[in-house]
């Protein structure tokens, strides 16, 4: 059994963890690692597209799933696909879309893996309509702490199922997943973009469109203040009956860490202004390929290097619908006053709760944005956490790198059930990440 010593970090690159990486190419080899691990911690590392420290354990073993990338079954009558966890969302879409289907929840990057999106119960731009990925998982095979593989479905072990969906890798390694897919008439969507004057305007438009459009997402200029607070662009989309010709995507790469200074208030404001003005006053309708629509940032490889060597934090919270509008306003006021936000922030509606104990979604509004790692950002993130808590909201584990342990416990009321399952399936605490340790996810003192 051979390991490679690596420094792995999350997508935000604020911390790096020294790990012993292990890269199985078959399921039996993954099981070998778990059986041999002894006292050492293990955690799965998929595409590394979580922003913080959820896929690494300093000094532990990182089980890289990238080579477990096979599609095992596709049943058009049942409309399900069965695959290994390391296949990327982009590869899965490349398989499904020409056959008339899509993953039911697609995150903003195609480099995430199927195992990773299940472990964070991710949501896409269609959350109102279709929920998060966990809502469509029929069953999965879980490699457990004792080295055995167990098939888990809601009706054979509902607790373990709920603990694993969104369970950030702490119940074990998902080695096979069965997902119900979504019919998709073509490789394109019909997109309507409209300018949104301010935050009130956003909430009006959300109320009007969230139940009509299949996909909806808002882009906010988080640097705009005063009367312009919350101005941005609303994007609505529906599957297009007719497709568009496949173009080989243009791929650019950020070849080195940009000097962090290039991302300052001036350049960011200018960028946001251009983005806002890009959409004509009366709105714009266009047809986009699913790839361009779901993964606009993927065309620029390693874009996280734009933030320089220090990296960046991403903040994403959801606040419940009740009182949510004022919650979002408080957050945006705090953010715009700090002046440290960067490119566009994302504001969108969420439809309902997920099936996992630690699933992020709640019916309400979710806000996501980046902050370059600079002096003052820690305080700002703490203030944003406090506001989120005041409005009964929660922070997304996939994006977290700084949440407080007490805040986390208040945000996730099913934590007790989650811990009870871990106590049962992994009493020795084999599966552990730096995030789990930082937030005391397994329980105090574990």
């Amino acid at each position: 059994m051979r390991f490679k010593q690596l420094e792995l970090s999350g997508w935000g690159r604020t911390t790096a963890a020294a790990v012993s990486a292990y890269r199985p190419e078959r399921i039996s080899a993954a099981a070998d690692l778990v059986r041999a691990a002894g006292a050492e911690n293990v955690v799965a590392y998929g595409g590394g597209r979580s922003y913080g420290d959820s896929a690494v354990r300093t000094g532990g073993a990182a089980l890289l799933t990238e080579r477990l990338d096979r599609i095992l079954a596709f049943d058009e009558t049942e409309q399900v696909v069965v695959c290994e966890p390391g296949i990327t969302v982009a590869d899965m879409q490349a398989f499904l879309v020409p056959r008339g289907y899509s993953l039911p929840a697609v995150p903003g990057t195609g480099f995430a893996t199927v195992g990773g999106i299940v472990a964070n119960d991710v949501h896409g731009k269609n959350h109102d309509r279709h929920g998060s990925i966990g809502d469509h998982v029929c069953w999965f095979d879980l490699l457990m702490a004792d080295g055995t593989v167990k098939q888990v479905a809601p009706d054979n072990d509902g607790d373990l199922f709920a603990a694993t969906i969104g369970g950030v890798g702490l119940t074990g390694i998902i080695v096979t997943v069965c997902i119900k897919v979504l019919p998709m008439p073509s490789n394109a969507v019909q997109v309507t973009e409209m300018r949104v004057r301010d935050l009130d305007h956003f909430f009006e438009l959300f109320a009007e469109h969230r139940d009509r459009a299949t996909y909806s997402v808002g882009w906010i200029d988080a640097l705009a203040r005063g009367a312009k607070l919350g101005r941005g662009v609303l994007e609505l989309a529906d599957p297009s009956p007719a497709g568009i010709p496949d173009k080989a995507p243009r791929r650019l790469r950020v070849p080195f860490d940009m000097p962090g200074i290039l991302l300052n208030r001036l350049t960011m404001s200018a960028f946001n202004e251009v983005y806002y003005r890009r959409v004509p006053d009366g709105g714009e309708v266009s047809k986009k390929s699913l790839t361009a629509f779901f993964h606009p940032l993927d065309a620029l490889h390693d874009w996280n290097r734009l933030y320089g060597r220090a990296g960046f934090h991403q903040f994403q919270c959801v606040v419940p619908e009740e009182g949510g509008a004022s919650g979002i306003r408080s957050l945006l006021e705090e953010i715009s006053a700090s002046g440290s936000a960067s490119f566009l922030a994302v504001l969108k509606t969420m439809g309902g709760e997920g099936r996992g104990h630690l699933s992020f979604p709640v019916r309400g509004y979710t806000l996501a944005l980046d902050f370059p790692a600079r002096a003052g950002v820690t305080d700002l993130l703490q203030r944003l956490e406090d506001i989120t808590l005041d409005y009964g909201g929660r922070i997304y584990l996939a994006k977290d790198s700084m949440m407080s342990e007490a805040g986390f416990a208040r945000m996730y009321p099913a934590l007790r059930e989650f811990r009870a399952v871990l106590e049962h399936v992994d009493p020795k605490g084999l599966f552990m990440s730096d995030q789990a340790l930082r937030l005391g996810i397994r329980g105090p003192g574990r």
Binding site: R2, A21, E25, I71
Partner: protein, 251 residues
């Protein structure tokens, strides 16, 4: 003039559980060939078979094959001959241990020679008549730059690959009149299970790139090639060092 559909062919992949084998099967299937995945871990190969068949819509079969089980090779080849399509062969099974380990344990040394050299001879001797009878076809073998010169760090494995390369030269001459090409691909470092975590690697190539090169080189009917091709330069230099100096090097 009537056009006839191109004849359906089958790629036989010997050592298919390697990441290069998986990538090769996917690629060849995408070009329309049926695939036979041969190897020891048939449970795992069944998963690859499902993947390849689903993605490319071709017929994929799994057959148990152990390179060291020489006695089974005649039957294995006879089964291949009974397939209703012509076959092409990609041979890539291999095994590598640390030189120090094989120095101390003859069983490991014997296994290295048995898999990398004798196993290849045993199966290719059985497959050669089928290819000859077929009157066309391709054999491509993933070998190693290690076979170009015996190095302190790796000479046992290198000797087996070197012997394989010599064997393939003769086999090439034998199969040439029958219209069968034999391609030897001498690979440098590949990012596979064999090397993951080993110290001292550089310019490591992906399994996908290696698989694509093997397919492309055999399509062109090339005799031998280095992959990636800059290894030609590196090996030219290594081969040109005089033995009195080379013996003092611990590379």
């Amino acid at each position: 003039m009537s056009e006839t559909a191109p004849q359906k062919r089958t790629w036989l992949v010997l050592g298919a559980s390697s990441s290069v084998g998986r990538a090769f099967a996917r690629l060849a299937a995408r070009q329309g060939a049926d695939i036979v995945l041969a190897g020891r871990d048939t449970d795992d190969l069944n998963r690859t078979a499902a993947d390849v068949a689903l993605r490319a819509g071709v017929f994929v079969d799994v057959v148990a094959f152990d390179a060291e089980d020489f006695d089974s090779h005649a039957d294995f080849a006879a089964d291949c001959a009974r397939r209703d399509t012509a076959i092409d062969v990609f041979l890539l099974f291999g095994a590598m241990h640390e030189q120090d380990a094989t120095d101390e344990d003859f069983d490991l040394a014997r296994q290295t020679v048995n898999v990398n050299y004798l196993g290849a001879v045993s199966i290719l001797d059985r497959l050669a008549p089928i290819l000859e009878k077929q009157g066309d076809g391709r054999l491509v073998v993933l070998s190693s730059v290690a076979g170009d010169r015996g190095r302190r760090k790796n000479y046992l494995y290198g000797s087996a690959k070197g012997a394989l390369n010599l064997y393939l030269q003769g086999l090439r001459a034998r199969l040439f009149p029958a219209g069968v090409s034999v391609t030897t691909v001498k690979a440098g470092f590949l990012d596979t299970d064999m090397t993951f975590g080993l110290p001292g690697l550089f310019l490591v190539a992906s399994p996908e790139a290696c698989a694509a090169a093997c397919l492309r080189l055999s399509d062109k009917g090339r005799e031998t090639a280095y992959f990636p091709n800059f290894w030609f330069l590196i090996m030219t230099i290594i081969k040109s060092i005089p033995e009195p100096i080379f013996k003092r090097l611990s590379i």
